[in-house]
Structures are given as structure tokens and as C-alpha cells.
């Protein structure tokens, strides 16, 4: 089976987010970057499904030139080839992102049986691109998935809900968005990184349509910093901790 997985380059924000002067982006001068966590699991799932059923896995991203790093990372853990939709680094809203992805899928020679996404990106968290892509392609879509099994032309998916797991099934081709926890992604090996450098990667520069969800500015939530009461240093703090636990009624 042929599987496409769509990923997004996001900063590793660490403990404190700082904004750029124009308040339209996170200050990333001192930050590393990664693939959004749910999507890293989507890539791992694509690799496992191809190991199991044969076929080809392809990774796609819409992002700046630097996002090639994330495509190579995914190829280093086992994805076969990459598609890079190169942007100038500015924001693409969910509808613009969808149309670029759909155009790229149509332009690619492969017929994808399964298109995997993360349920939502770590940064923008718009919760909609997988669904929009599915509608544009006329495919069924199943979201928020923590278990996948493919049997012939059918995909069976499990989703955690309060009190259990909901089971869904759909005919392929289908779009599925997954959640972290569906698997534990492997780390890239050194030979894997070497191989990734030689794997095929095609890039193009789609035109960005006007934003219909138009980001104006970013800001940090108010009142998020507290002044902690220091209960002590080392094990000598234990009696004071237990006093607090007693006060709040959890003893």
C-alpha cells in the first residue's frame, strides 16, 4: 500500500515562549525544531504499515526551506521519499494549506491508499486540515486515532473516548489523523541518516491564496507567572510538604 504522511516543522519551545518584535511569530533564534508530536507518530505508523503490507511511504510538508531538515528526519527513520512545498516562512491558514496539499497529491504520480496526518499541529492547533483534504479528495476521514489495522481494502481504527475505545472502519483510500501514543517512534540511526540524504525529494513553490482565518498578532496569556512558596531544601522539606497536603485535604 502507498501511504502519504503530512508533517509540520514546529519550534521546540522549551519552558518559556518569547515573541518576535512584530508579535506575529515565536522568537526562534535560540530554538531547535522538530516535527509536531502527533505527526511524528503518523510517520512511524506509515513506516510500520509499509513494513507489514509492502508499498511506499512518502512524507510531505508545507514550510520554509529549512523544513527539509524535518523531511530528512522522517526519511532517516524509514520514509522512502519526500515532497516539499516551500513557503517564504509566513503563515498559511488551514484552507490555503489544504489546497496546496491537495494540489501536490494530485500532481504526484502515486495513488495513495492512505493519507496520514496528526490530529492537530502542535503550534496552530486548527483541528481541520485532515478533514478538508479528505473532502477535497472525496475520501472518508477518521480522526484522533490510537490504533490502526489494515485488512485488504478496509482500515479499522480505534479512538480513545471516556470509558473505552470507539471502533471505526472505512474503505481505502482514506484519510486518518492520529494521536501521539499510537506507537513509540523509533530514533534515526546513523546509517539511516546517511541513507536519508540520498532519498528522492521533490520541491515546488505553491502560490499562497489570501487567508480567510487571518492571524493578526500573537500574545502570551496573562497572569501565567506565580511566586512559589518555598517549602524547603532537600528532604528536610518533607514535614512542611505533609502539612500542606493535610491542609488541602488529600491526606
Amino acid at each position: 500500500m502507498n501511504i502519504l504522511v503530512c508533517v509540520k516543522r514546529v519550534p521546540l519551545t522549551g519552558g518559556k515562549i518569547t515573541l518576535t518584535e512584530d508579535e506575529r511569530a515565536i522568537q526562534t533564534r535560540h530554538l531547535g525544531f522538530t516535527v509536531s508530536p502527533h505527526e511524528e507518530c503518523a510517520a512511524e505508523e506509515a513506516i510500520r504499515l509499509v513494513e507489514q503490507h509492502g508499498g511506499e511511504s512518502v512524507v510531505l510538508t508545507l514550510g520554509p526551506a529549512e523544513a527539509e531538515e524535518q523531511l530528512r528526519d522522517m526519511m532517516a527513520i524509514g520514509i522512502d521519499r519526500g515532497i516539499h512545498l516551500v513557503t517564504d516562512g509566513g503563515e498559511w491558514d488551514p484552507q490555503a494549506t489544504t489546497s496546496a496539499i491537495v494540489d501536490a497529491i494530485r500532481a504526484d504520480g502515486a495513488q495513495f491508499d492512505l493519507i496520514l496526518f496528526g490530529n492537530e499541529s502542535a503550534d496552530a492547533g486548527n483541528y481541520q486540515v485532515p478533514v478538508r483534504v479528505a473532502y477535497a479528495l472525496g475520501h472518508p476521514v477518521i480522526n484522533g486515532i490510537k490504533g490502526i489495522a489494515v485488512d485488504g481494502d478496509t482500515i479499522r481504527c480505534e479512538r480513545e473516548v471516556a470509558g473505552g475505545r470507539d471502533v471505526y472502519a472505512a474503505p481505502l483510500p482514506a484519510v486518518v489523523s492520529v494521536l501521539e501514543g499510537i506507537n513509540l517512534p523509533r530514533y534515526p540511526s546513523v546509517p539511516g541518516r546517511m541513507r536519508a540524504k540520498r532519498k528522492p525529494l521533490v520541491s515546488s513553490e505553491p502560490a499562497r491564496p489570501g487567508a480567510r482565518l487571518e492571524m493578526v498578532r500573537l500574545r502570551l496569556p496573562e497572569g501565567s507567572t506565580k511566586q512559589a512558596e518555598v517549602l524547603g531544601n532537600g528532604p528536610e522539606a518533607a514535614p512542611r510538604v505533609v502539612e500542606i497536603l493535610t491542609e488541602i485535604g488529600v491526606m
Partner: protein, 290 residues
């Protein structure tokens, strides 16, 4: 004008918050719930809501910022080819309307203009108080959808095993981070959690290292917790983690680094090595209890 609100259930707190949020648009609010016997089928439910919104000339469709709320709204957005804003804190009507919405699980806020109609908005959890839905009339509907919209539906639900205290509902969560050092290191975290009748949590660094299952992970991509007290042991306080524990009433951080960013979110701090502090707390609890 009318604002149609999708309720997961009339008694659901986050759905009631969506009603409060919807009222801020200033139009009549019409809450809609699906018949409880109706199996969940996101595309079919979305189609029914689209038809109801069109019949009533709705200016907006609002959903709770839950898994199903955001999913049904995304289907509506795809069907209508209109923009959707997920997890909004506030909305100001206008042309274009403006919203403030959550990014990074709430660690960052975005002000955005929405160019479309009807407005499709989900309400961020716990941004506003719940509205008493008994005051307004909830219309209960059944999905009347085409075959294509019914392909993806819940075919069965596998019940969860009910062993132990659930992380999401626990009154006490004792959570370990990279500082715990190993899978075996969690024995002292488990001991303290058991003494307090609480649940064990962990950070993403811990699940990535394979020390704990993902079901223990607290964070933006893990479980969101809201205990009486969250005891964070050897956790630095990355935004990814804090997005999962910001619902805790109180936070006690145990960390040897007095400059760790977790202390900026903590109510109580113990500066020290968790390998010494956590067993000392457990033995103090035993002593106090006799």
C-alpha cells in the same frame, strides 16, 4: 439572526460553556443535541447541523472545543468551504469578525480575523462559565444523512479496563520527568502516589525514553489533568507539559535547579533531588499516620 450551538449532551459542562460563548455574539442561541441513541457519525452529524443552520439562517455555528466538537465543526467547515476557528476564548462580531484563540494548547494566544459566513467557532474549554442550558430550549435531533456521510461511524465501543485511579480524574497526581532517570526510578513516584490514593503521571521526555506508557503522559499531546494537587518531580516545565497540568488547583514542584521554569507555574517549591525528597515525603506520611 441565530447562533446554532452543537451540544455533545445537554448536561455536558464544556457544551454549556459553548452556549455561554455563543451568547457573546449577541444573537438568539439555539442549542442542538443529537438523540442519545444516535451512534456517532461525524459527517452525518455535520450534515444535519448544516441543514439546520441553513433553515434558521444562522450567522454562526458554535461547538465545544472537545474532540467531537472540533471534529464535527471541521466537517461543517469542509462542507461549506468556510473558515473555522478552533478553541476560541473570545469573539467580537463584525465584518470580519475577530477572535482570540488558543495555540500551543493554550500557552500562546492568537488574535485573528475571520473572513467568512456563517462563523464556525469552537469554544476553548474553561474560558467562560457554563450556561444553565435548562433555561433555553435544546432541540434534540436525529441525523438524516446520505449513505456517503454515514460511512465513518462508531461501529462498537470496547470498554476500558477499570484498574486503578484514572489520571484525568485523580485528586492527586504525582508526576515524574527526565530527572527520575530510569523506568525503575518511578518506584518512589508510585509509592507516593499510592500513599495519597493518587495517579502516576509523567512528562513527554519519559514516554519518549520508553520508561512509562503514553497513557501516563501529562501534556499538550497527552492527558489533561485537574487534580487538587499536582506534584511535579524532576520536571523542568516545558510548555508542552504545562499545557496538560495547568488545570491543577495547586502545583508542588520538586527540582534541584532553583531556576527551572516549572517554579514560575508552581504554588509550592522544594529545591532538591527528588530521589531524596520523594522518599522523605512518603516516610513522613507514614509517620504522621502512625
Amino acid at each position: 439572526m441565530t447562533t446554532v450551538v452543537f451540544l455533545e449532551a445537554a448536561a455536558d459542562e464544556l457544551s454549556q460553556q459553548a452556549v455561554t460563548f455563543a451568547a457573546s455574539l449577541g444573537d438568539d442561541v439555539q442549542p442542538i443535541a443529537f438523540d442519545p441513541s444516535e451512534g456517532y457519525a461525524p459527517a452525518a452529524w455535520a450534515q444535519t447541523l448544516v441543514e439546520l443552520a441553513q433553515q434558521r439562517g444562522a450567522g454562526a455555528v458554535v461547538a465545544p472545543g472537545t474532540d467531537r466538537g472540533n471534529e464535527v465543526l471541521a466537517h461543517i467547515a469542509a462542507k461549506l468551504d468556510q473558515p473555522m476557528s478552533a478553541n476560541c476564548m473570545t469573539v467580537t462580531p463584525g465584518d470580519p469578525a475577530t477572535v482570540v484563540r488558543m495555540r500551543w494548547g493554550g500557552s500562546l494566544l492568537e488574535e485573528a480575523r475571520v473572513h467568512g459566513s456563517p462563523l464556525l467557532l469552537s469554544a476553548a474549554p474553561h474560558a467562560v462559565a457554563a450556561a444553565p442550558v435548562s433555561d433555553v430550549e435544546v432541540v434534540t435531533v436525529s441525523a438524516s444523512a446520505s449513505e456517503a456521510d454515514s460511512v465513518v461511524r462508531v461501529s462498537e465501543t470496547i470498554p476500558a479496563s477499570t484498574a486503578g485511579v484514572s489520571l484525568a480524574d485523580a485528586d492527586v497526581v504525582v508526576s515524574g520527568g527526565r530527572g527520575v532517570g530510569s523506568a525503575e526510578g518511578f518506584a518512589i513516584i508510585e509509592e507516593l502516589a499510592a500513599l495519597l490514593g493518587g495517579a502516576v503521571g509523567c512528562s513527554r521526555a519519559v514516554t519518549s525514553a520508553g520508561w512509562r506508557p503514553h497513557s501516563d503522559q501529562v501534556g499538550q499531546t497527552g492527558t489533561k489533568v485537574s487534580p487538587e494537587i499536582y506534584i511535579a518531580c524532576g520536571i523542568s516545565g516545558a510548555t508542552q507539559h504545562m499545557a496538560g497540568c495547568k488545570g491543577a488547583k495547586r502545583l508542588l514542584a520538586i527540582n534541584p535547579d532553583g531556576e527551572a521554569s516549572i517554579f514560575a507555574s508552581a504554588d509550592y517549591a522544594v529545591i532538591g533531588d527528588l530521589h531524596e525528597v520523594v522518599p522523605a515525603i512518603s516516610s513522613e506520611i507514614r509517620k504522621v499516620r502512625g
